[in-house]
């Protein structure tokens, strides 16, 4: 493998020109590092929109039907008061944007693109042009999604799950083109995502540097590899379902409309068959990122490398046969509930293994706490809560009660915010020096972390409590229910937490932008880390490496190895008389 790879790189390098001009360098770039930055900026921009929508939702739940400060400029006819149709649109688009246009572009898009060639020692992706097309497909998808806010009838308001026939018959929601654009956008996004995932898989299989065997790959690469496989297999299901929904709405087909012979549960089966692997698409890269960062700042090898890799593979397989746990009370044959209970319980085991291995990595370490480590630790601790709360739902009888309550909302946010977004912040702080060639501000990073983790828990932990108290998700005004009124104070507390959480991200934005402009110049390897990306300059030049690509002699986490006097041993360093 190695000989052909080296040859391939050399041939590839000859075709490239370093002086590409503005458009080819910054806009229609085929350089994986630039595409990674494009995905990152897009994801962070969409995070602002998704976050603002979340605050709108939270405001309404805490202080129902009072004017939102500043919203009067947009909702002129109501003076800033959120109406039920606005509210449904806000939570629908909050989830849609956060899942498809924030977490996926940042974790899979940005860090997948940035890390894969650098960590395997390649000069670029296998298909650079396809890579460029992947971004330039995802970006219009985001524009289409944003356009939905400006069409008559408003944006999609049937939940991010878009259960039919609420979503498939316009008269039920009063939403017309908003829902159509939602379908079109996800279809286009799905195509872009498939291009990216094919590229990731091909690159990792074919273009690893000499000596980089699969079990010498950093766990971030394992996670991105497995994520890409899940993306490749899951996204076609979503795109097909989105097309079917669009055809029902515009061409008069009747896949999902029962009054014309369609089957509403078909949508749920298609959606969750995609949707559960999707949850792991969101969390696996964050697991890989945490597994990458913990060893560096513990100065010791990851605990149980093989178990970490195999547990991710196990999760990937099992993720296909658990989706029915979203549908226990949907009217699906309750017999199926039995099987999905068993598989859902089993899928908790690999996550438990990973958690204990992260703890094992801390054991006996020499731990320092810069911002990337803080966010990685935040990821681990919040993921523990999100994982444990999942066991309640796996037990079908308990799920009867907590299905569609705020307990579910708490769970998903501990996994996707506490997990994926914390992982994304950890990754940004960790690889920022490599991406932009500058260091971030340490003090601002610390303040950002502590505000985020405290406000996060104030915002989301009480959701468990009100969920068990029975509060349904997606309701506009809890005060309409007598049995919920006694816990309304929690909604106020959560909204205050959410406001602090939202506004403390301004610190991150300041740190991020100021550091790009005028951060301290970063050395090639600021964290004394072992993996290959730290051999390249910061930021890496076009085609990443000098005249020859690195050769790999050992696994990625040889910290504090007795082989050398230093407490790190890069993957490419040849130690004479070594037995590794």
């Amino acid at each position: 493998m190695s000989a052909t790879t080296v040859h391939g790189h050399a041939a590839h390098a000859e075709h490239e020109h370093h002086d590409l001009g503005f458009i080819r360098t910054y806009v229609f770039s085929t350089d994986h590092k630039m595409i990674a930055k494009q995905f990152l900026f897009m994801g962070l921009f969409m995070l602002i929109i998704g976050g603002a929508l979340a605050l709108v939702v939270r405001w309404q739940l805490a202080w129902p039907e009072t004017p939102v400060p500043g919203l009067g400029m947009i909702l002129t006819e109501t003076g800033g008061v959120i109406e039920p149709s606005h509210y449904n649109m806000a939570f629908t688009m909050h989830a849609t944007i956060m899942i498809f246009f924030v977490v996926m572009p940042i974790l899979a898009g940005a860090f997948g693109n940035f890390l894969i060639p650098l960590q395997i020692g390649a000069r670029d992706m296998a298909f650079p042009t396809l890579n460029m097309l992947s971004f330039w497909t995802t970006f219009p998808a985001a524009l289409i999604m944003i356009a939905g806010f400006f069409v008559p009838g408003g944006h999609a308001a049937a939940g991010w799950t878009s259960y039919t026939p609420l979503s498939s018959v316009a008269q039920y929601t009063g939403v017309n083109w908003g829902q159509n654009l939602w379908c079109i956008s996800l279809f286009v996004m799905g195509v872009g995502s498939m291009m990216g995932s094919i590229n990731y898989i091909t690159t990792i299989i074919n273009m690893r540097a000499p000596g980089m065997s699969l079990f010498r790959m950093p766990l971030a690469l394992w996670s991105l590899f497995i994520t890409a496989i899940l993306l490749l297999l899951a996204l076609p299901v979503l795109t097909s379902a989105a097309a079917m929904l669009l055809f029902d709405r515009t061409l008069g087909t009747n896949w999902f409309n029962p009054s014309q012979g369609g089957e509403p549960l078909l949508w749920q089966h298609l959606f969750w068959y995609f949707g559960h692997p999707e949850v792991y698409i969101l969390i696996l890269p964050a697991m890989g990122i945490a597994s990458e960062i913990l060893p560096v700042f513990c100065r010791k090898p990851i605990f149980g490398y093989h178990a970490m890799a195999f547990s991710m593979i196990g999760i990937a397989f099992l993720s296909w046969i658990v989706y029915g746990h979203h549908m226990f009370v949907s009217g699906m044959n309750p017999m199926l509930g039995l099987t999905f209970t068993i598989t859902t319980m089993i899928i908790a085991v690999p996550s438990a293994i990973k958690t204990f291995n992260w703890l094992g990595t801390l054991w006996g370490g020499r731990i320092t706490f810069p911002p990337p480590m803080l966010f990685a630790l935040g990821f681990v601790s919040m993921f523990v809560i999100g994982g444990l709360s999942g066991i309640f739902m796996a037990s079908t009888p308990v799920d009867i009660y907590i299905q569609d309550t705020y307990f579910i909302v708490a769970h998903i946010h501990y996994v996707v915010f506490g997990g994926s977004i914390m992982g994304a912040f950890a990754a940004i702080y960790f690889w920022f020096p490599k991406m932009f060639g500058r260091m971030t501000n340490n003090a601002l990073g610390h303040v950002h972390f502590w505000l985020t983790i405290v406000a996060f828990n104030v915002t989301f932990f009480p959701m468990h409590i009100i969920g068990v108290g029975g509060q349904m998700r997606r309701i506009y005004n809890p005060m309409q229910y007598e049995f919920l009124q006694h816990q309304q104070h929690w909604n106020v507390i959560m909204t205050v937490g959410a406001l602090v959480l939202g506004f403390s991200q301004i610190l991150f934005a300041i740190n991020f932008l100021m550091s790009i402009a005028s951060g301290k110049k970063a050395p090639a390897n600021p964290w004394n880390a072992n993996t290959l990306e730290w051999l390249a300059e910061s930021p890496p030049p076009h085609l990443n490496w000098g005249p020859r690509i690195p050769t790999v002699y050992r696994g990625p986490y040889e910290y504090s190895s007795p082989e050398g006097p230093e407490d790190w041993l890069p993957q490419d360093r040849l130690v004479v008389a070594s037995s590794s």
């Binding site: 490398y305 009217g331 509930g337 319980m345 009888p397 108290g469």
Partner: protein, 254 residues
Amino acid sequence: MLNWWLPENVATFGDEIDWLFHLIYWITGITFVLVAVTFLAFLFLYRDRPGRRARYTHGSTPLEIAWTVTPTLILVVLTFLSLPAWSRIKMSMPQTDFVVQVRAKQFNWEFTYPGADGKFGTPDDKTFLDEMHVPTGKPVRINLGARDVIHSFFVPQFRFKQDAVPGREIAAWFEVRKPGKYEAPCAELCGFGHSGMKAWVFAHAGADYDTWAAENLKGEAAPAAAGAKPADATPADAKPADAKPVKTEEKAKR
């Protein structure tokens, strides 16, 4: 402990659900405390101090086997505690002659009683809007359907939830132990009026139910007459019901 989390349970299978809930609560709670204490202790004990070098280890097979097997065993036990309860609640139907047809529509619940002849689909059926009356101590079978979009019939204090799906009729049941008035919200997003879509379930002790039924269900086949006396026999704590009986004008549209 922490019963204040859950609203009071008044239905028979709610006990099983609450028992499982509390079991999982304790298992996950203890696990969380152990993990969190270990986590924080490691962060403190192994913080960077001058002159220390991290322990060079790649793992420990016995430990890894231990923490694979232990959660697996706990989850297997939980699985086999959950499955029988699930099959008793959702896969079996106790013998009962008390059947109510429930139809959800944007944004109301319709409850249809078979009337004097005991059959649905006859002119003496009685339908009530957002108001359901059931006896205590007797399994209640509901035949659940929806007229437009998916709704979900949720009665928190019965620990009951079942989606109502247009195009199909789903049989479900509960048995109430304690008389009272219970809120039954829709739990599945069903449109702009989803919030506030709810019914009241009135559970009457035996004789009270008979009184209510005699006054409201046994009338002649004139739905308008039945509307004259809505829900006289509600329990003392219940406010006069604002719901009106409506005509049973339609079969579930397919």
